[in-house]
Amino acid sequence: MARMTRREFLKASSAVVALSGLAGCASTGGAPTTTSTPGDLAPNRSGRRVIVIGGGWGGATAAKYVRMQDPAIEVVLLEPNDKFISCPFSNLVVSGVRSIESLTFGYDGLRKQHGVKIMRESATAIEPDAHRVRLARGFLTYDRLIVAPGIDFQTEQIEGLAAAGDRVLHAWKAGPQTVALAQQLKEMPDDGVFVLSVPPAAYRCPPGPYERACQVAWYLKTRKPRAKLIVLDANQNVISKPALFRAAWQAYPNLEYRASNKVVKVDAAARELTTEFGDKVRYDVANVIPPQRAAAIAVQADLVGVDKRWCEVNHVTYESVKAKDVHVVGDSTIGIPVPKSGTVANSMGKIAATAVVNLLNGRPAPEMPPINTCYSWVSDTEVMAVINAYRIDSGKVVQIEQKLTPGQSALYAHHAEAWATSIWADILA
């Protein structure tokens, strides 16, 4: 083991104190019964510990719902960020309609209301055979693990993108990039060209890029009517709610949509994108959403399939088909016929938590289907949506029905606000 600096040692030992100090609902009480192995940051005395990797839509929900359903289970949530920033509604930050602060929440509810132990750290590796999660300074053991790390970008698939640094943003994980993209849009010349590049499916939030197109186009229409938005879509058509988005775009003559235009190269110095067919597109602001895969920790732990991108899971328990006692929820998963959405991640978090609680109590996991709803803001005041309901048939998730709102309206914007208010509280409060 690498030698620790004094400060690292103090940090590590205070983490141990913080964890063991809170532990003990179901422990034998008093002195530790397990002798700690070197590097074990907090010996698992209760034998009923769940570790959750990632405090986003799926992971934070799962952590809360394990504790709600069985307070005797110890839950440790690993999340490097001290704040939760919502991707849903973040396209409204790009257009200046909402502030990033209005999408930013703390983790106090999980900690104080639900007794989730939160460590502000990244998991660095998973060892399923040893039932261990590695952190920078040691490891923690678990009885069941819930992996919810979201997505990472395949930046290497677009030549020059890595070298472009923060001159070319994705803003596909809400946070500093979202704010920076809003700034780039604001500072763009009045007759400038904004180019939005949509990655090939599967990626996080199927309608998200088209909602972003609406928001950028709305901003240009109201603030820079001489400017232009070009959407370069790697897919053959708008891949979510195509008729509704195309109807919404009628209001934006400054929006030009080009299907089957996959961006393969970025030249940040020349401000030029190149498509698969060799077309070159000049830009003043480029917003390139790169191709995606499950986040690094899931790939590195080999929870992904042969495509090396996404994790296949059991449709009832969300247990990985590749690792025992390891469950995966949210955008990292594939194979369940659901979109990569926040509503789905929240839903999966609840179901996986319920499965874990039942399995730890020696009972079978109940068969519960997830739900989906994606509201999309097509202007500053109007919203349309897609809704999916599912059932479980012979152990598999199958769709009962998909419905679209008949069009866009201010009423659905009120429904969207109600959804956001409710689901943020469902995840964190």
């Binding site: 609840k350 319920t354 709803t373 009962i400 429904h415 409060a429």
Partner: protein, 196 residues
């Protein structure tokens, strides 16, 4: 500093009593997907969706049935009602009926409440003096529902867009057609204020 404000704002989204759902609460798992829009244990904190906590089981079942069959059009609730039907509507209805109702935090206008009280005499015959509803007359409780939700439903009745053509609602819709929109807003504020 801003962070404190935000944390406080989120705290305002939860009912005072944290929902505690031990694994054995009947219906809990069948109903938990609803909290994505209707709040924790049906205690909606938003203005545009109904509170389900404390809703009589007979009415919730009727609503689910009307949505699932398409009689009461709603792009959100039609698919989810079909799902509820596959899961067992009785369990879901019983779960929400036994949840404690928490007052909605949405602010109301005093003047609107006062005007609404006067206008509500024409509703009491069917919905009861205190807006508590009456199963015999097929009326749901209105008391304490968010004003935004109530107002929208009244407008839908007025335009015959909620359960269009339903013969049982002819009297109600005829009544709504004669009430102007500002009065409907006052009625919504009044009923929302009851039971707080």
């Amino acid at each position: 500093m801003q962070a404190f404000v935000l944390v406080a704002a989120l705290a305002a989204l939860v009912p005072a009593t944290a929902a505690a759902g031990p694994v054995d609460t009947p219906g809990f798992t069948k109903a938990f997907s609803c909290s994505a829009c209707h709040g924790s244990a049906g205690a909606a904190r938003a203005d545009a969706v109904p509170i389900l906590a404390g809703m009589p089981a007979w009415y919730l079942k009727k609503a689910i049935d009307d949505y699932a069959s398409g009689r009461r059009p709603s792009p959100e609730m039609e698919p989810f009602s079909k799902m509820v039907t596959t899961l067992g509507v009785d369990d879901v209805a019983a779960y929400f009926a036994t949840q404690k109702r928490e007052a909605s935090p949405i602010k109301l206008d005093r003047a609107a409440i006062a005007s609404g009280r006067t206008a509500a005499t024409q509703c009491a015959g069917c919905h009861g003096q205190d807006g508590r509803g009456d199963q015999a007359k097929g009326t749901p409780p209105l008391a304490g529902q968010p004003a935004g939700y109530l107002l929208n439903q009244m407008k839908l009745f007025k335009a015959d867009k909620r359960s269009p053509g339903d013969a049982n609602l002819t009297a109600l819709k005829a009544l709504m057609k004669g009430v102007d929109d500002p009065t409907l807003a006052n009625l919504a504020a009044y009923y929302a204020s009851l039971g707080r």
